[in-house]
Subunit: 330 residues, 4 copies
């Protein structure tokens, strides 16, 4: 920790801070600059200590040196992780997960599974528990949705991923799904993170729509700290001032997460843009920035979808999309 003292601090004031820290078993080195002094503090520093030190007399600021995460860090594991979901190796092969925003009917799921399998997708997605901004909007088929998703995935040999929104549902969702998704709105629902951290299922952790990359990695750290190391990150766009897109896909975050962490990183261009015509360029951009794969919304009839129609591709569009991706997926 570095403590920057205010320009007008006296030697006695600096000494008093050092004594306080010595009493807590830290060692201090004072550097007196032209206008200001700084104190280098050595020992096992916590965020709490750093916050407290801000308040001590004549302290201008206290800065922690080093990153607050450990298990997710590439320093801790230099080689990129591979997370296995059935036969799919996320982090090794470029994976495309496809399917509707919400599970609606058996027919919808079977047709979609067949179509995305044929077009080259390796996993199936579909929401059974839907977090919706309005209490009056369709909230998902819940258990029935899990059954339909499982059935479709099983029939077409596609591992399935679905969102869990309540710690009380983790057990039931884990019975049906091959991978559990934590949605953007729940990225800092720490009870839920701890609960999925206690399962043996791989976790797809979406970035919160106004979370920093560090907060996202700390959310992954929560899951890993419970013993589950099968975490896959997913960038899905951040909230900015731009009104022409629903969110702004942050490709720098993909590159940064790959640089700082060993975890695989996917991108969700469908949610990021909220606009069908942007799905392909954003998907290509995400892969070019280093993403390990994509999650794409596909629906038999997007204009009849019960949620998130505007960004869903129909089967023909998805087939063209996969063909267009061709080279980028190598």
């Amino acid at each position: 920790m570095i403590i920057v003292m205010e320009p007008n601090s006296t030697l006695a004031e600096i000494k008093s801070i050092c004594e306080k820290l010595a009493g807590m078993n830290f060692s201090c080195h004072v550097i007196s600059g032209v206008n200001q002094s700084v104190i280098g503090v050595i020992g096992e520093i916590t965020d709490e200590l750093c916050e407290k030190a801000q308040l001590w007399p004549k302290v201008e600021k206290a800065l922690r040196v080093g990153k607050p995460f450990k298990l997710v860090s590439r320093e801790c594991q230099p080689k990129g992780s591979i997370v296995k979901v059935g036969k799919v190796n996320i982090g090794k092969d470029k994976v495309v997960i496809a399917g509707p925003c919400a599970v609606e009917t058996e027919d919808q799921m079977l047709k979609t599974a067949a179509a995305v399998k044929k077009a080259g997708a390796s996993m199936l997605r579909g929401g059974a528990f839907k977090p919706r901004t309005s209490p009056y909007a369709f909230q998902g088929l819940k258990r029935k949705g899990l059954e339909l998703l499982y059935e479709a995935g099983n029939l077409y040999d596609l591992p399935v991923v679905t969102e869990v929104v309540d710690p009380r549902d983790v057990e039931i969702v884990a019975q049906y799904a091959d991978m559990l998704q934590i949605g953007a709105r729940n990225m800092q629902n720490f009870s839920l993170l701890q609960e999925v951290g206690q399962t043996s299922k791989p976790i797809l952790l979406k970035r919160g729509l106004s979370s920093t990359v560090q907060e996202w990695l700390m959310a992954a750290e929560y899951i890993m700290a419970e013993g589950n190391s099968q975490v896959v990150l997913c960038e899905r766009g951040i909230r900015t001032f731009e009104p022409w897109t629903r969110n702004t896909l942050d490709v720098s975050a993909i590159a940064l997460a790959k640089e700082v962490s060993h975890l695989p990183v996917l991108a969700d261009p469908s949610h990021a843009s909220g606009k069908k015509s942007l799905v392909e360029p954003l998907a290509k951009a995400a892969l070019a920035a280093g993403a390990d794969g994509l999650i794409i919304e596909v629906h038999p009839n997007p204009d009849q979808a019960l949620s998130d129609g505007p960004q869903s591709l129909d089967f023909n569009e998805f087939t063209s999309f996969m063909a267009a991706l061709g080279g980028e997926r190598k």
Copy 2:
């Protein structure tokens, strides 16, 4: 709903959209402008219909007329609501809720309760379940914390409010607390909103740090839709690009929420700024903008606090703060 057609749409294309809507029992009125046509659609419009319509051929955009919330709306209840917590009437009297970020010890709570009562606070706060960015940070005393908070509030005749972060904890927290707080990170934890909506306790709903005012009101609508109408909103700062404050207190949101909704609105200048010297100016600004009260962090020794020290006032500072507020609280 207003559907704006692309400039190059033909009459046949416009007619086809109208027929589709007629088949769904909506009536349509076409207005042909100089460059573009628009269709006015009459009937009970949902967000889902609006999203779907965006995808129909030659539709440039579909706009819903009117607000998506009902129960929280001032149109629905022109007179401002008063939410009673014990003898405190939020929405009538300007209320100050004070106490530490986290409950730590019995001594801390009793001293704080005595001090804030004496200085004029009307309610006591303190966190027993703490949502923390890092899994390695202090997470709160949990049940023991609830007991200490209850004891201190009871002894000094101060109703108590504390955060609940997990739907499974709502029952136990409701046994000890007079008011349940939904934190900023859980503002769109819909399972938790529904759970507290089923209790008979007043709810303090903090605004998510990147939530729009409309999303905040929709979160309140979730609680009210479950039957609990005792909701108090709390603005606590939004995430912006400014690095010198932790968050940016949005006083416009206070004025807007009061204008659009009948619910009382508090402000939390401590969390908004993360900086002790800003607590007083921001508190005054919030009251001047129309806030019904404040929630302020107070700790016997802020530089020893287990969380959020930098923004906490000590007892002397809180006493001066209350005195300085004087006129604004009328």
Copy 3:
């Protein structure tokens, strides 16, 4: 400057950095922590040196200690500055500047000057050179506008302020105006800042709509570095994700600017909100946060205004507004 070395740096690598700095006449102190080392660098540090040091081998980051501004700093002048504009003392009396967004006609200006004077305003505003997002929108009356503004101010004994947008116009604008305004979009138009810094007129410097407080103060430093110390800051709202207001009035920035700098600070609640009903609550909030005054849009017929109608008050509304402000202006 503090240089944080990467965790895996060797002693030789640290030594090599210190030698490079010694060659530039800086002295270095190395502090070896548990995981990482830091180097404290003493001497006259510049931003450029700090940027370069980031690139040296094994450097994780280089942090400059201390603020980059001098003349605007409260450390440099502990007492708040008073900027005189005619008989008005900004920084001493709470000042209200009022008038239309754009100067349109003689009748409009004379009527407005009379009305705002009567209601208690101390200065008159009006735009002759209008920066407009669209090249097809009304761009102001230019020289004719300056004449009308001057005439109205002169007749009603109100000092006038108007915006200058081009360094070539500074001379002519300075002939007519008592105070020159730098608009939000030009806050980092450094040529313009330097040009107005060479006049003897007081300057009203609006904060850029996505400028940090530090960048705003640096823009003031540009003006002061040219020899003109009569700078008044003006907070006018920042760009955020919230769509219900045009911008978000940042009251923390007002309090921070007053804390860090000796310059007076005004607020512009009209532009910040873009909404008439918010002008009064935001004005009160700004004053409560410590603002030295306000700038308010007033127009004889807001619904006929050539620009920015939605946020302008008419004469009756402005009179009520001034009455409502009453207590806060003491």
Copy 4:
């Protein structure tokens, strides 16, 4: 224009609005919905009219149908524009513009020109007039810088682009440069836009760091409205809450600008990230999203650069970068 009336408007109030509009020669069509009425207004609508209408009694909001730009619009010119700078065809070939942030010495420019030419760059960049946040930072060599840039470009047959920051400098810069750059901070410096719009030089228009895509296109419209249609857009990152990158490269904006406008679009991954390790992934992402080329900072000794060192590539790094780009530039 669509006028949405408040839910409680009477027929008389609606009629009164229609009469006002009829008096201005617009025709109106009223659509009475379940809760609210809307008025469709036909005629040549301006932004000003739309703003005024917001203020009329019982008007909830007034929405303009259609985009406010014309000349930059793809509707106006369905085929993508090609902007010629010497022998380089921007919009046809994928172009890479390379060079230092600031022109410093003859040796620096000649070496850089030779190196970037050899590595495959097609144009040379270098700043002679530097907009800097601090008045105390290096502001560029000005005229001397223009000469050195011209000489290096001429010798190595590379067209040159350089920034102009003051309308008074446009003439001199145009004498030396093949293309004029408008920097992000000056994107809404409308005097400067108009001045460069009157030259016959191609213009590189950077997006403001908090400008919407629409505002960016309107800035291009300013230039084109003066008669200069040779405009190239350049996305260089927007300001967000993320602290680990200097700005957030907005690849959606690249795809959107290409969709909505016929103008070529470049990307500047060096400024967007402020971090050398991100230049390559962001460059690839930008091209994958549809960018017509890149602008990359290259310096003989980045750790000695007078500005923007941290994001500059040295010659070896640039050569590897160009090789790595290989496939994406087809």
